[in-house]
């Protein structure tokens, strides 16, 4: 053994202490990491729970059972000639008010929703014979009563609820209308179907435009493009577009699609086109990564037996890259589905109570609907806003879930 060597005394106290210190700092560092993960997850949980807490009530509504004696009410309706127009002219709102007053007391007119008469209308339409009878109908409660019944409301409303409850007239049930109705002005009657359909149409346009173009671009850049100034510019543009603030796309849509091309305002078509410009770069980038991850040995193999470059891509590379491309597409679409700002610029911030029938009809989308409702005067909209958020989140989580599933399932190592 050589003399000049200074053997380290690993067993000395100083060294032991030092090592203990190092391990302590290791533990602290690890705990900090865990804390970071936990905090992030806790925030998410908090967000989701607070939305659920506020929003689940939005899926229910309170109804008041009211006895209606049609024969005794001043209805100008001929039971044998019930038409939509006749019903519209029949002064049902007044009748409803009178009926409620009679059944529940003088101050009760305020207890039912202003649009409660539509329930009567639909009941008569469904069965004109009830005009000759006395029936019990469940009328939607007014917002104040609804709130008081589900959580807490004003003292007057609470008193009314207590009275109704005692009489056993109050029921709270799932409000299917929330899923099938469209925008409205009475929070007890609104639904998300219109906005949902708008989102669907917008997404269709977005997908139809951005997917083929995105995939074609990814293929071109990854497989064929020779490095030159043009491909450099393309590459920079794409990476940049993927990060351009979405509101800028709104400005673009406003100037080009609306003011220059004169496409219809508020339409799913324009919304979809605007979002497609935003989504395309996301698909390109995901597509390129997916294509890049197809091992070169596959290309070599195909080229080596005489496949042309186009055949190599369409027979081998694209099929193998497809799951990756789909994952990227779903993520891009999910982002587009949640996007609001650019759509505000192109006229989707609108009251649209008729679900759009096509891509050129006026439409709004779920996130814009949420934005609109969050701005409503009536406090009944608070829980509706949260409920709409839940619907949107369920969709987004489902899309993300599918993307993650695809990624895990097809993630392969060659």
């Amino acid at each position: 053994m050589s003399a000049e060597r200074l053997p380290t005394d690993w067993k000395s106290d100083a060294m032991r202490r030092r090592i203990a210190r190092r391990y302590a700092s290791e533990r602290r560092f690890k705990a900090a990491g865990l804390l970071a993960v936990a905090l992030s997850a806790a925030f998410l949980a908090f967000l989701l729970f607070s939305m659920l807490g506020n929003g689940l009530r939005g899926f229910t509504r309170t109804e008041i059972a009211v006895k209606v004696d049609f024969s005794a009410s001043p209805l100008l309706l001929d039971p044998n000639a019930i038409t939509d127009q006749a019903l519209a002219n029949a002064n049902l709102p007044m009748v409803t008010g009178a009926v409620v007053k009679k059944a529940l007391g003088a101050d009760a007119e305020e207890w039912v929703s202003p649009t409660a008469w539509t329930v009567l209308r639909d009941a008569i339409k469904a069965d004109p014979k009830i005009l000759a009878r006395t029936v019990t109908v469940k009328l939607p409660a007014a917002t104040a009563i609804d709130l008081a019944a589900k959580s807490n409301g004003s003292p007057e409303a609470e008193a009314a609820v207590a009275r109704l409850d005692k009489a056993g007239l109050l029921t709270t049930g799932i409000n299917w209308g929330f899923l099938t109705a469209s925008d409205g002005t009475d929070p007890t009657q609104v639904g998300i179907w219109g906005a949902f359909k708008g989102s669907l149409l917008t997404m269709l346009v977005t997908l139809a435009l951005s997917f083929p173009v995105g995939v074609a671009t990814a293929v071109y850049l990854e497989e064929y493009a020779r490095k030159n100034w043009l491909t450099d510019i393309i590459e920079v543009s794409i990476n940049n577009l993927a990060a351009v603030p979405s509101i800028i796309f709104g400005l673009l849509g406003l100037s080009i699609f609306l003011n220059f091309l004169h496409l219809p305002r508020s339409a799913a078509l324009v919304g979809g086109m605007t979002l497609a410009l935003m989504t395309m770069p996301v698909i390109v980038i995901a597509g390129r990564n997916a294509i890049k991850s197809v091992p070169p040995s596959i290309r070599d193999a195909a080229l080596g037996i005489g496949a042309s470059p186009v055949q190599v891509v369409f027979h081998h590379v694209l099929p193998l890259a497809l799951p990756g491309i789909l994952t990227g597409t779903i993520i891009g679409m999910a982002r587009a589905l949640g996007e609001t700002a650019p759509l505000l610029m192109i006229g989707m911030r609108a009251f649209i109570a008729t679900p759009p029938g096509g891509i050129t009809d006026p439409a709004t989308v779920l996130p814009v609907q949420i934005f609109l409702w969050s701005d409503e005067v009536s406090r009944g909209f608070v829980e509706k806003t949260s409920a709409a958020i839940i619907v949107l989140l369920v969709f987004l989580l489902a899309m993300n879930g599918i993307a993650i599933y695809l990624r895990n399932k097809f993630e392969r190592r060659w």
Partner: protein, 331 residues
């Protein structure tokens, strides 16, 4: 398709309205009633773009791709009218649908301020009476009779029509109490306007977005703050807010509708006469408006204040006769 871009194209079987966010809740309410009263009709589209933005779209031309109605929380401006004419929108029908109260409110636990336009002006102006930057920190600085709570006002942002109303209905009134200002008005209209309507930007007045619900919330949280917003919000939130009297007048339905309460401004809709024929249901939509703007009509239930009887009569007449606006009265 052989359809070319530009020009008029496409058909429309829905009414389109654009404009004021203040009128938006009333226009949508009418839209709903219109559909219920006219089965088979499609629901009108109401866009909330702000009065000016709406005017811009409205005046862009005649045809299916341009809106039929502009909602406005102020009268059309002369410049807007001229723009309309330039683009071929010649015959415009002006209908006042009601009144909006510009309400001042505070939290239920607030100090119970009593204000006048003069006090408001002196508290909020950027440059009161042109005498240099506003130094008032508390209400007491403005008027010794008021409590020494700091000035903190949440109000409409400079981009909204409600802000214009605040400037016109309250600030200018307060400003004009000073004779020097009256003189200035004659001498230099622009400077008068600036002195009397410009609001301080040192944080005492907080621009508070479009979302009036947030203002309501903030007031609840901060008893010393004052909020300025449409009367309908006060009405809806009576349980947490109370009104602040101006000139000793409380903001109640009556005082606003009679114009006693100073913060009252008219609400309008503007309709293109050229569209009356081509857009199905447009006349019926206007009729629905007319049927619901009475003091005990559906619109007042939603927080609108009915216009005085005379105005209502005149508006109803316009709906019937479709009389065209005379641009020369506009400013």
């Amino acid at each position: 398709g052989q359809q070319s871009g530009g020009g008029a194209g496409g058909t429309r079987d829905q009414i389109r309205a654009v404009g004021s966010s203040t009128v938006y809740p009333f226009a949508t309410a009418i839209a709903e009633m219109f559909v219920q009263g006219n089965p088979g009709m499609k629901s009108p589209i109401v866009e909330s773009t702000g009065t000016g933005g709406g005017m811009k779209l409205f005046c862009a031309g005649v045809g299916a791709q341009h809106p039929d109605i502009a909602d406005a929380s102020r009268r059309m401006k002369k410049s807007e009218y001229e723009d309309c004419r330039k683009n071929g929108v010649k015959d415009i029908i002006e209908i006042q649908i009601g009144v909006d109260g510009l309400a001042f409110a505070e939290s239920k636990n607030g100090p119970g301020l009593k204000l006048t336009p003069k006090i408001v002006y002196e508290a909020l102006a950027a440059n009161p009476y042109g005498k240099g930057p506003n130094k008032a920190q508390s209400w007491k600085d403005v008027d010794p009779s008021l409590p020494a709570t700091p000035i903190s006002v949440f109000g409409p942002p400079s981009t909204s029509g409600t802000r214009d109303s605040l400037a016109e209905l309250i600030l200018t009134k307060g400003c004009e109490t000073d004779p020097a200002m009256e003189a200035l008005k004659k001498k230099n209209e622009d400077e008068f306007k600036a002195t009397c309507t410009r609001i301080r930007e040192d944080g005492k007045y907080v621009d508070s977005g479009e979302n009036d619900n947030l203002i309501v919330q903030k007031l609840g949280a901060n008893p010393n703050a004052l909020g300025v917003f449409g009367y309908s919000f006060l009405e809806e939130n009576k349980d947490t807010l109370k009104d602040v009297s101006i000139n000793g007048v409380e903001a109640t339905y009556e005082t606003v509708s009679t114009g006693q309460y100073p913060g009252a401004r008219p609400l309008f809709i503007y309709v293109k006469k050229a569209h009356m024929q081509a857009i199905p249901g447009l006349q019926a939509y206007l009729n629905t408006f007319a049927a619901n703007w009475d003091p005990n009509g559906a619109l007042t239930k939603r927080g609108m204040v009915a216009a005085p009887e005379g105005v209502r009569k005149a508006s109803a007449e316009t709906v019937k006769s479709l009389a065209v606006l005379d641009g020369s009265q506009l400013k």
